[in-house]
Amino acid sequence: MEFQPRISRFPPVVVLINANDDTVEMVKRMLDVKGICCLTSCHFADVKKGIINFSDFLAKHNPAVVIFDISPPYRENWRFFETMRDSLEMKSRGIVLTTTNKKRLDEIVGNNSDAIEIVGKPYDLQEISDAIENALLKVEASS
């Protein structure tokens, strides 16, 4: 089933938590074409350092789906991702996970991260697009 954005004043909102401006731009462009609103993005490091308060950020933008990118150092950033994922504010929101080296990430974190590997090719973006649509469908079905 393909995700169809509803005709509404409020299009489905996703937010990006990433380190790489190029990747943010690529994903935003892809979401624009799909009619999915990427309201905002912030740097993973800014959340880690407390420059951006994760709870306030989610409360303010209220996204249906959050796209997290795990960049090096993989071990440390994976732990911080788990903390964010398990927070109460993430309840009933969808998650899409990306990284630039899934094999090494899985080796380091010791399990299958379910992350999508992104190296900037059209097939990565298609995979991310599919994952976002699936996450939005799940959120919609559970609401």
């Binding site: 380190a19 790489n20 401006d21 190029d22 990747t23 690529m26 740097h43 993973f44 490091a45 800014d46 880690k48 960049s71 090096p72 150092p73 993989y74 071990r75 440390e76 950033n77 630039t100 080296n101 090494r104 990430l105 380091i108 590997e117 992104i118 190296v119 900037g120 090719k121 990565d124």
Partner: protein, 148 residues
């Protein structure tokens, strides 16, 4: 005076996308470096012209430049090659890093000679060794410039 004589001894410039990686390299140089200092800017800012590569290099004159190639790999590799072949790179050492060397090499169709960095101590040891090696090469070039 040759271009190689103008570099600032011990100054390392880092062009990266990730603040975490910048911090890791900064800590590495501070704790285990050989008296080097670090300046950095975001790779994306160079591509977008927010920072002008030539002016940045002329202003700071780093002895060594660490370029990180992040996605989109094909596009950023092309931009890296443009910077690497610029005349302002003459006499400076170069270290290349990436988070996924296998995919980078596949996409660009050649061996990038990049160091893979995923945040482990072993990666940092490799970067430190490469910095030492490239610094020695730059030092050698400077001496040749002084005596040649």
């Amino acid at each position: 005076m040759s271009e190689s004589m103008k570099t600032t001894k011990g100054l390392v410039a880092l062009f990266n996308a990730s603040d975490d990686t910048i911090e890791m390299v900064y800590r590495l140089l501070t704790k285990q470096g050989d008296g080097q200092s670090l300046i950095w800017c975001h790779f994306a800012d160079l591509k977008r012209g927010i920072v002008v590569f030539e002016k940045y290099m002329e202003k700071h004159n780093p002895e060594l430049v660490i370029f990180d190639i992040s996605p989109p790999y094909d596009e950023n590799w092309t931009f890296f090659k443009t910077m690497r072949s610029n005349k302002v790179m003459k006499g400076r050492g170069t270290v290349l890093t990436t988070t996924n060397k296998l995919r980078l090499d596949e996409i660009i169709g050649e061996d990038s000679n990049a160091l893979e960095i995923v945040g482990l101590k072993t990666d940092l040891d490799l970067i430190q060794a490469a910095i030492g090696r490239e610094t020695a090469v730059a030092e050698g070039a400077r001496r040749v410039g002084q005596h040649g």
